[in-house]
C-alpha cells in the first residue's frame, strides 16, 4: 500500500495540473487574507483584535475547495486519459488502487492545508494581526480545523471522483458548486437539526466556527466529515470494481 501511495504521489508530482491548482489555492488564500487587513477598522475588526485574527484564519476556507478538486481529479484523470488500463495491469486489485488514491489525496490535501496555513500565518505576523498573547485554545482549534478541512475535502473529492469516474467534469463541478453555495439553497427548506449534518455545517463544526446556528462540536464535525468521505470512497470503490475497462 505504501508503494502504491508513493506511486500516486509521483503521478501527481509529474503532472502539471496539481501544481497549478496548488498555486491557485495559495494565491486565493493570500488574496482573501489581505481582505480583512484592507478593511480593518472600516467595517471589519481592527488589527490586533481576536476578530482580525479569526478573519485572517478564515481566509483558508476557499482553498479547501481546491483540495476537493484535486481529490476528484486524482481519480478521474486515470479514466479521462485511459491510463487506468495500464494502472490496473500493474495493480489488478482495484480496491487497493482506489484506497491508495484516497490516501494520496489525503496527504496532498494535508500538505496544501499546511501551505495555506503558512500563508495566513505569514500575512498575520507581518501585518501584526496575529498577536501571540491573543492565541487561546479556541483559536488553536480553529486553525487546526481549517488545516484538517483540506485533507478531509480531498478525501471527499476522491470519493466523488470514484463514484463519478466516467464523467470528470461532473465529478469536479458538482461538489465544488455544492459546497460553494448550492447546498445552502437546496437544504434551506429542511429543519435546522437536519441541516446541522450538512457538509457546510459539519465543516463549520470541524473549524470550531461559532457563527453557524446549532454547530456540531469539533470532534463530531470531524467524525461526520471523515465518515462522509469514507462512505463516498467505499461507494466509489464499489462502482469502480465491476466497471468495464478496455
Amino acid at each position: 500500500m505504501l508503494v502504491l501511495t508513493r506511486t500516486e504521489l509521483l503521478k501527481l508530482r509529474s503532472t502539471r495540473w496539481p501544481m497549478i491548482l496548488a498555486a491557485i489555492a495559495v494565491v486565493t488564500t493570500l488574496l482573501l487574507a489581505l481582505q480583512p487587513l484592507l478593511k480593518a477598522g472600516h467595517g471589519a475588526p481592527s488589527i490586533g483584535t481576536i476578530g482580525a485574527t479569526l478573519a485572517i484564519l478564515d481566509a483558508m476556507s476557499r482553498g479547501s475547495l481546491v483540495a476537493l478538486v484535486i481529490g476528484a481529479l486524482l481519480v478521474t484523470s486515470e479514466f479521462r486519459h485511459s491510463t487506468i488500463t495500464a494502472s490496473l495491469l500493474q495493480v489488478p486489485d482495484r480496491a487497493k488502487l482506489i484506497t491508495a488514491k484516497a490516501a494520496a489525496a489525503v496527504l496532498v490535501g494535508l500538505a496544501l492545508g499546511i501551505a495555506c496555513f503558512a500563508v495566513v500565518l505569514l500575512v498575520g505576523a507581518i501585518s501584526g494581526a496575529f498577536q501571540p498573547q491573543l492565541v487561546n485554545g479556541d483559536i488553536a482549534l480553529r486553525a487546526m480545523g481549517h488545516i484538517l478541512t483540506f485533507p478531509v475535502y480531498a478525501l471527499l473529492g476522491a470519493g466523488i471522483g470514484a463514484l463519478l469516474h466516467f464523467n470528470q467534469p461532473l465529478a469536479v463541478l458538482l461538489p465544488a458548486i455544492w459546497l460553494a453555495g448550492l447546498e445552502g439553497l437546496v437544504l434551506a427548506t429542511l429543519p435546522q437539526p437536519a441541516r446541522t449534518w450538512s457538509l457546510t455545517s459539519a465543516t463549520a463544526g470541524l473549524q470550531n466556527s461559532g457563527t453557524v446556528p446549532m454547530v456540531l462540536p469539533v470532534w463530531l464535525g470531524a467524525v461526520a466529515l471523515v465518515g462522509y468521505g469514507l462512505i463516498l470512497v467505499s461507494a466509489g470503490g464499489l462502482r469502480v470494481l465491476p466497471a468495464d475497462i478496455s
Binding site: 481582505q35 469536479v172 439553497l185
Partner: protein, 244 residues
C-alpha cells in the same frame, strides 16, 4: 449559417447533458421561488400580490444564469472532450463559421432556457396564488433584461469553452467568476468596477437601483464588448490549433 446554427441546436437536442442542465436550472429556480414564497408574510419580505413580490419571484429566474453559462461552455468543449471536432471540421472546414454558429446557438439556447425559467417562476408564483402578473415597465425591463443577460452568458460560456478547450477547467471558470471574483471586488475597494462586471450589468439591465449602475443601452454595449473580445480571442485560438 442558418444550417450550421440549426445543426448546433440539433446536437444540443440530442445530447443528454443539455436536458440535465435545463432540469438543474428549473430545479434551482423552483427552489428559489419556493423560498421567496415561503418567506411571504415575514418581516422585510414583499407583500402578497405586490409588484415587489412579482419582481422578486420573476427575478429568481436569474439563478439559472450559471447553468446557462455552463451549457454554453459545453456547446464547444464537448466537441474536444468527445473528439468530434475533427468530423465537424471535415464537414465545415471554415472554423470561424463553425465557431460563430456555436456562439449563436449558445446565445439562442440561453434565451430559450431563460424563457423557460421565467415561465417556471411565473407559473409557480401564479399557481400558489400570491403573484399577480400585471404588465408594468419594471416587469418588462426585468424580462427583456433577463433574456439579454441569458443570451450573453450562453454566448460568453461558449467563448470561454473555445478559449480554454479543457472541459473540466472551462466549466470551473463561470462559477469561480460568479461566486468568488465578483463577490470579492468590493472588499478590495474596487467598488467602481462593480457596475461594469456582468453582475453589475445584470442589475442595470433588470432595472436594479445599484449605485453607479450603467444605463440599459450602455450595459448592452458593454456586454457586447465583452462577448466580442472573448469571441475574437477564442477565434484566434481555434483558428491556429492543430486538429488530428
Amino acid at each position: 449559417m442558418t444550417a450550421l446554427v440549426r445543426a448546433e441546436l440539433l446536437k444540443l437536442c440530442w445530447t443528454r447533458a443539455t436536458w440535465a442542465f435545463a432540469a438543474a436550472a428549473v430545479l434551482l429556480v423552483a427552489l428559489r421561488v419556493g423560498l421567496i414564497l415561503a418567506g411571504v408574510g415575514t418581516i422585510g419580505s414583499a407583500g402578497r400580490g405586490s409588484v415587489d413580490l412579482t419582481l422578486a419571484v420573476l427575478g429568481a429566474s436569474g439563478s439559472g444564469v450559471l447553468v446557462i453559462a455552463l451549457l454554453g461552455v459545453v456547446v464547444v468543449t464537448r466537441e474536444f472532450h468527445s473528439a468530434t471536432w475533427t468530423s465537424t471540421l471535415l464537414v465545415t472546414p471554415n472554423r470561424a463559421r463553425v465557431l460563430t454558429a456555436k456562439f449563436l446557438a449558445a446565445g439562442l439556447t440561453g434565451v430559450i432556457v431563460g424563457i423557460l425559467l421565467l415561465l417556471v417562476a411565473a407559473g409557480l408564483g401564479v399557481v400558489f396564488g400570491q403573484v399577480g402578473l400585471t404588465m408594468s415597465t419594471a416587469l418588462l425591463q426585468m424580462v427583456v433584461g433577463g433574456l439579454v443577460y441569458a443570451a450573453f452568458w450562453g454566448w460568453f460560456g461558449a467563448a470561454i469553452g473555445a478559449l480554454i478547450r479543457n472541459q473540466t477547467v472551462a466549466l470551473l471558470v463561470p462559477p469561480t467568476w460568479m461566486l468568488l471574483v465578483e463577490t470579492l471586488l468590493p472588499a478590495y475597494g474596487l467598488h467602481r468596477l462593480v457596475p461594469v462586471t456582468p453582475a453589475g450589468i445584470s442589475s442595470a439591465l433588470a432595472g436594479g437601483d445599484m449605485p453607479g449602475a450603467l444605463p440599459a443601452w450602455a450595459a448592452v454595449l458593454v456586454l457586447l464588448g465583452y462577448g466580442l473580445a472573448m469571441s475574437v480571442a477564442a477565434g484566434r485560438r481555434v483558428e491556429h490549433s492543430d486538429v488530428s
